[in-house]
């Protein structure tokens, strides 16, 4: 399996990251190396193996459906890089 610079650029957009040319070269190098290494797993036949998502046999831990206090709006907005006191503010999504 070959991983190209173009693939890496595409993944960077999916991951919401942005690299300059030099970083892109280095990232491609490193990812090719690591992907090659993890390919080691293809040596194993896992046809009848059930995937394991989790180390515990706990399923659907449900809480009682009772209201309890939650963060106030003020607390929730306190760490926001930009807010107007009511909402989180982000750059225009639909154009000016």
């Amino acid at each position: 399996m070959s991983l190209t610079r173009q693939d890496v650029e595409k993944v960077a957009l999916l991951a919401r990251l942005k690299f300059d040319e030099e970083q892109l070269d280095k990232m491609t190098d490193h990812m090719v190396q690591i992907v090659q290494y993890v390919h080691k797993l293809s040596e194993l036949n896992t046809d009848d193996v059930e995937p394991m998502a989790h180390a515990l046999d706990v399923h659907n831990a449900l809480a009682e459906d009772v209201p309890r206090p939650s963060l106030s709006r003020e607390e929730a907005l306190k760490n926001a890089p930009k807010s107007d006191g009511e909402y989180f503010r982000v750059p225009a999504v639909l154009g000016e």
């Binding site: 999916l14 194993l44 890089p81 999504v93």
Partner: protein, 500 residues
């Protein structure tokens, strides 16, 4: 022996008998930090004022005869990954430089309820990704035994502060070895509990199916003492398990009879430093002399541990770290810069997407971005089955290996790392070499079993060597007792570094 050189258990007895006060003890640690942390860099922030105020409060409670918690008056250092209300919690990242969580992690609540004194926040690899603490966005941490070397990671600050007598107890986290490896390289005791034993509520997530919080300390009894406070069921963490917490600190001194230890032949030979091999084999011989029987066992899929881990952990990380979007909390790239860049390269991706991208590329360090990229790639369309699903299947095989091993033996004994602490910068530009540092530790996280690292020797150059014991899920009590047996028969844990 000065007060800070004593174990936490001894200090607690002196606090209880009134021979020392928590204010004196806390002050002694603050002075020690002041004297040596410029050489070690274990702390990101020392909270002198709140620590002293808390110590005075506990002293007053004690004097008034009020009931006190299990750690009453003992200073504890906390890895900077555990949310503490209205207090900076950075996770070693620029992304969270100005983040002050609106709530406490459950373990922080537990520590406060136990009347511990929180000394400060320890340094770490950014978002716990790394094995050397060189990935901290703030400054590196140096190994107290040789300050030209790394302390291990990601809980490098947590291990170094204990080893250098800057804190008697410290709390770390372990996703692939991040407690056990630095404990081994710094010559202290570090326990990675079973997945589900300690609440992860308020632990800033890296790989949620692997992360666990655990204690680091100078002695096994001290680790048992802290573990008793950290462990427990928490309804706020749906993966927390509701089984009672044993009184680890009371049972730790009882030796185990008819102990059977498993040795994996594969752990030795090629790739392991001969001095480590010999120290670990000597440790096995010591257990034999204490009455344990030794049995050769196989973990046939252990060799696939690193490959499995470096798919699963980045996949979970890429998903967990999607929350850092520059909108809700944390760093955001400068708006004018974002717009100028967009205008310059004429891209049609729009100001919001570019804000996300610039924010994340400026806020995260190189290793964190590498793992997000790997995870995003492995989870992307067309690759999911080949990577993530495959890794989850191999994870099952690794777990089965452990289940089969624990039918034959009580614990598995072996090395923590293949090499002693390496030089600063040695592996910084080679991610694969750094990843292989976790060779002996990642499988415990993948399988969800418990593991402990304890001092078992020194190299000729005076660098600490760690011994790893691993036990079946929720067997921490036995693990601590077995570790204590070794500690009683040896004196490696009593040596302390001369900090230059």
């Amino acid at each position: 022996m000065s007060i800070i050189q004593k174990s936490a258990t001894e200090q607690l007895a002196l606090l209880q008998s009134g021979e020392i006060t928590s204010a004196e003890l806390t002050q002694a640690y603050l002075e020690r930090i002041n004297a040596v942390d410029t050489s070690v860099g274990a702390f990101l922030r020392v909270e002198s004022e709140t620590a002293l105020a808390q110590a005075v409060k506990i002293d007053r409670k004690r004097k008034a005869g009020e009931s006190l918690g299990k750690l009453a008056g003992l200073p504890v250092a906390i890895k900077d990954i555990l949310c503490t209300i209205n207090t900076p919690t950075t996770c070693g990242s620029r992304m969270l430089e100005n983040f002050a969580p609106p709530y406490n992690a459950t373990v922080v609540e537990n520590l406060l309820a136990a009347d511990a004194v929180i000394l400060g926040r320890t340094n770490m690899d950014e978002f716990a990704m790394g094995s050397s603490t060189e990935n901290s966005a703030y400054h590196p941490t140096y190994n107290p035994w040789d300050t030209s070397r790394i302390p291990g990671g990601s809980s490098g600050g947590a291990a170094a502060c204990v080893s250098a007598d800057m804190a008697p107890l410290s709390v770390g986290t372990d996703t692939g070895g991040s407690i056990r490896q630095p404990a081994a390289l710094c010559g202290c005791v570090g326990l990675k509990p079973t997945y589900g034993r300690v609440s992860r509520y308020g632990l800033i997530a890296f790989a949620s199916s692997l992360d666990q919080i655990g204690p680091l300390a100078k002695t096994v009894e001290d680790a048992a003492l802290l573990m008793e406070v950290l462990a427990g069921y928490d309804p706020l963490d749906s993966t927390s398990v509701n089984i009672p917490v044993p009184a680890y600190s009371e049972s730790v001194g009882k030796p185990l009879e008819n102990l059977t230890l498993g040795v994996v032949e594969h752990h030795f030979g090629e790739g392991i430093d001969p001095e480590i091999e010999s120290a670990v084999k000597q440790a096995i011989a010591i257990y034999e002399s204490l009455g344990a029987s030794i049995k050769n066992i196989e973990l046939p899929h252990a060799d696939y541990g690193i490959a499995t881990y470096y798919i699963i952990a980045p996949c979970e990380a890429s998903s967990n770290l999607a929350r850092y979007d520059g909108a809700h909390y944390g760093y955001r790239a400068d708006q004018a810069e974002v717009l100028a860049e967009l205008a310059e390269d004429g891209s049609d991706e729009g100001p919001l997407v570019r804000m996300y991208r610039k924010t994340r590329s400026q806020g995260f360090g190189a290793e964190v971005q590498r793992r997000i990229m790997l995870g995003t790639y492995a989870l992307s369309e067309g690759y999911y089955d080949a990577f993530y699903l495959k890794a989850q299947k191999v994870r099952r095989l690794i777990r089965k290996d452990y289940d089969q091993a624990f039918e034959q033996v009580d614990m598995i004994i072996g090395p923590v790392t293949a090499n002693p602490a390496f030089a600063k910068g040695e592996k910084a530009s080679d991610p694969m070499a750094m990843y292989l540092e976790d060779l002996y530790t990642v499988t415990a996280n993948l399988a969800g079993v418990a593991g402990i690292s304890l001092p078992c020797g020194f190299t000729e150059n005076g660098l600490p060597i760690g011994l790893q014991l691993q036990a079946a899920p929720f067997q921490e009590e036995k693990l601590l007792r077995a570790a204590q047996m070794f500690q009683n028969a040896t004196d490696f844990h009593t040596r302390r570094p001369e900090i230059s």
